[in-house]
Symmetry: C2
Subunit: 227 residues, 2 copies
């Protein structure tokens, strides 16, 4: 069975990436989910549910200290998450420094240990909220670094591929694709505030709502969580 | 005051790197030490002692799960650390997958959060024990990835520099330099087995003994720890 590692937060992008990896023939899936001090640790429940729905071989929950430097409203208890603004051109306060570099390097360690040559990450530079580590230049540079810094990429001559299939896709197109792949998006979680129900007003809720509207798909996450 | 981050394990290389950063004018030093399941967690005491001797601004002890994949004799309790062999041409069992990629990406996160543009790492590809993530190709690729994946390297246009001053230095030359810089090597720790006293027979002890012999410097670590 072909093996792949998927970075799985439990949101729309990573969930779609997990389903896509399966559709692309990777039947032994290893999901990595990171706890990094994010306020919406609620997304971990979604990651669990999605991993179970797909039937992954392994689901690793990995605790990381990147929230500790206290520079993001997403991880700092003393800062609140601002209401969203999709017209904003500056870097949002929810930016977590070098998060995807850390996530991908941990994935590289797992890949090198388990001899898995394929890593999926659901980033998009179209709707990327100003996060610089969602751009193609970063993904390609990181792939190169991974191959220089692992046995797989060097002495074993089995290069690691970092798949970022949504880099140039809008979130709406991604959702259309996901629906075809059988994704149940009501299982996923996007809201940064991480209360029992999505707030509907943070950046992540706004992006999600816009994408579902554009895709013409109904989002039933609120209904699923209304108990 | 010029600021730098130094990856500090408490061994010979990272200790010399810390002193060199100071000598090169970086007077606000931030040391990062990683716990990754290594058996010689004893080195943490050395990192503390060295950080105190230099007078760092901050010393972060960071817990990472890379030992969890269980593929290194350095982290797996069910495997013993073999006696050393400096003639060995294969990758040693103590290799920890993609360790330096993980360490440097965490350093990048810290750098991006604190706006620190200089990172020191004490790797050498001369005496590198077959660890592929100690080679210049990896360091340069990782530096590129860090600059593509951080605000410092992109929108802030303040590129991060990864200093690896010992890449092409033998450990003996490094020790000669360290002695000039005032390093007290009896504070440092190299032994992989991590008992009260250095074993003297693992790869790391053999490399250390050879380097001190070549440098003509007496190693007093055993005396310091013999209590």
């Amino acid at each position: 069975m072909k093996k792949a590692i998927v970075l799985l937060s439990g949101g729309v992008d990573s969930t779609t990436a997990l389903y896509l990896a399966y559709a692309e023939g990777f039947r032994e899936l290893h999901a990595l989910t990171f706890l990094y001090g994010q306020k919406h640790v609620r997304e971990l429940l979604s990651a669990r549910a999605v991993a179970r729905a797909v039937g992954v071989r392994a689901h690793e929950i990995i605790d990381l200290p990147v929230g500790r430097w206290k520079s993001s409203s997403l991880t700092d208890a003393n800062r609140s998450i601002a209401d969203g603004d999709l017209q904003r051109k500056t870097i949002p306060a929810t930016y977590v420094p070098a998060r995807n570099a850390v996530f991908l390097s941990i994935a590289a360690s797992y890949a090198d240990a388990k001899e898995i040559e394929d890593i999926y990450i659901g980033v998009s530079q179209v709707d990327y909220s100003g996060y610089v580590d969602c751009r193609e230049e970063f993904i390609r540079a990181m792939e190169k670094a991974i191959n220089e810094g692992t046995l797989l990429g060097t002495v074993k001559e089995r290069p690691v591929r970092v798949h970022a299939p949504f880099l140039h896709l809008t979130k709406a197109d991604e959702i259309r694709l996901g629906v075809k792949l059988g994704v149940d998006y009501s299982l996923t979680w996007s809201c940064y505030r991480g209360d029992n129900l999505p707030c509907g007003t943070c950046d992540s809720c706004l992006l999600r709502a816009k994408a579902f509207r554009e895709a013409g798909v109904e989002d039933k996450t609120r209904e699923r969580n209304a108990y």
